[in-house]
Amino acid sequence: MGPEVLQKKFEDEVETYKKLQKDLTKTNGLRSQLDGQLNENKVVKEELDIIDDSAVVYKLIGPALIRQDLEEARQNVNKRIDYIQQEIKRHENSMQKLEKDAEGKRDNLNKIQQQMQQLILKAQVPQQKK
């Protein structure tokens, strides 16, 4: 392969690799955010379980505090916890996939790099001979 073609290929690979890395970090960030939300909801769940049934619960929807039924509130919180856990799992899966792709890309990049180096060496030798 000609050196220029090789270089172009190398650059393309680098681009895709960078994109993969970005996606990876983004997913990572989302996942940790979800993790925080999960913890928060767990605390809420604990508190809701502790308070007695006669207490009043409100939910902040936009700028308004809307009164909620305690049972309803508990169920909502539980559902939210489950949802968040699912989301976390989904994100983790996508992260794994992305990592695998990134690994493959990295190997490709290394290979191309080696090829380029070989070409350079080969080019150098005839020049020296000259």
């Binding site: 960030g29 925080g36 619960v57 919180v77």
Partner: protein, 572 residues
Amino acid sequence: MCDENNIKVLHMWWMELPHGVFEITRDLDKIVFIAGTRALPSQLIQNKTCLRRVEMMKEKEESNASDDGKEDESASALRPDTSMISLKENLESLAQLQKVHEERLFICQTEISQLKKFRTDYLHLQKRLKTLPDKTTYDVMVPFGSLAFMPGRLVHTNEILVLLGDNWFAERSAKQAIEIVKRRLKDCDEKIKTAETTEKIHLNWLKETTEVLKGDMGDQVDIVEKVTEEEYQKSREEHKKSVAREYGTVREKVSSETESVASKSEGPLYERLSEEDKRTYEDIMKRLDELELEEENDGSSEEEDEGDNEDNNWNEEYEEEEEEEEEEEEVPMLDRGVREEPKLIEAAALEVKAKPSAAAAVIPKKREKLKRRVSWADDIKPLETIIPDNTSDDIFRIKYSSACELSPADEGGEGAGGATAMMAESQAGRSLMVRSPSDIYKVFGGATASHEPHPRGILKKSSSLPLQGESESNNKGGWRYAPESVEIVTEDMDDLPLPKPLRPSPPLKRKSLQPAFSYKVVERNVGEKEERNVGEKEESSDTQTGAIAQPESDDGTQTKKISKFKASRMKK
């Protein structure tokens, strides 16, 4: 007028908190007046600019996420191509690593300070909540926007809207709110603890990298001491002498301690000994270290007489090891009389087995002096480290498995070899007290001793061997096993039975290791015919090798047999 206006303000007296906002609000149905105007609650709610919820948790998480991302990137930046970097670049990357560590540490510390701030806030809140319900209304200056305050009243002092998290509020009383605060304080404290441990870890990492960096930079220098060969030898000699001296003093100290201790009452020996033991233990450990060093020195040189030295040292170390174990197992064995007994036996065993080098001879004496009990732990692992380097050829090494018997070769081996034999034995045996000669079998017996006390005889069967009374004493082959009491059975010559072994234990199971004799001492009535008959008997009955055959008798025949000597005496 304005001053007198009892302005009932729907005011939110809120405390902004990282983990939630505690709002003390009025019932929304109540009428609201601000400067005389009547406003709808909903409008006022809309105007609740003060209703801010600081989601510090979220912010913190985001900052964490970004930090993690940053860390990952920085870490990954350091990963590639380290093999191709020159030294300078290595240094650079090390410096970079150090920087990263510092950053992380900084982040940790900020986290911790933040958590601590939360903690103090919660404590303040708790205090405030306790005193809040004391009055039904408070006159306060209410913040109005960001630049103004207004005189107003704090009402509904016992109704507190607590933010539980994720846009959920709960109306609680002051007391209940205090409970919530307590729980949050607990969480906070736990978080602080974990953060502090991570901070410590980061600190250590940072310390290590700085040390490495310093080393690379050349602040550290190889300490090179130039010494001629003669000086080196001289110094070694002196070192050895001083070590020996030290050792002697240590031993004396130890012995004096134990003696003084032993002279006191035996009841509280327990506690006293444990204290002494610790000290002596430390001394002995120190001594061990010195000996180790010596060993290394000895091992490295080719000029000295390694064999004897190593033997000496080895034996000494071995002794040290024993003492250690003594101390460790001292607890149940505080009886002086008991201690002396096994020690004597040990001494005897040592002399028999170990090469009679000077050190070995000295050891038993010293043992007696010490009045210690030597016991054998099943695992004498530390000894492994003391044994001088494996490459030296002078040490005769025998490999053992735990269940094997001593081979006679040991006794011919060197002191080191012999001692290793003892070590193996101990590994095989139990840590029993050897109170009588028969216990030796149990302790050193090995696997076979448990289910078969009968030893394998090494004496060949021969017709010239005398019978009966001396049979028990001919235990050369079977000395290791506890001989059981043997019943004396007399039988008629005619009633010599077929070769049917009547042994108390079942040796038939093991063909190879059949007992030397049946443990039945048979006395014969007839004098002259005995030997011949015995010879016949042995040949006919004995399927064993090297066994001292005894005349075997049936269960039924219990005729008394007299030994030939007795017979001859009787005749006289």
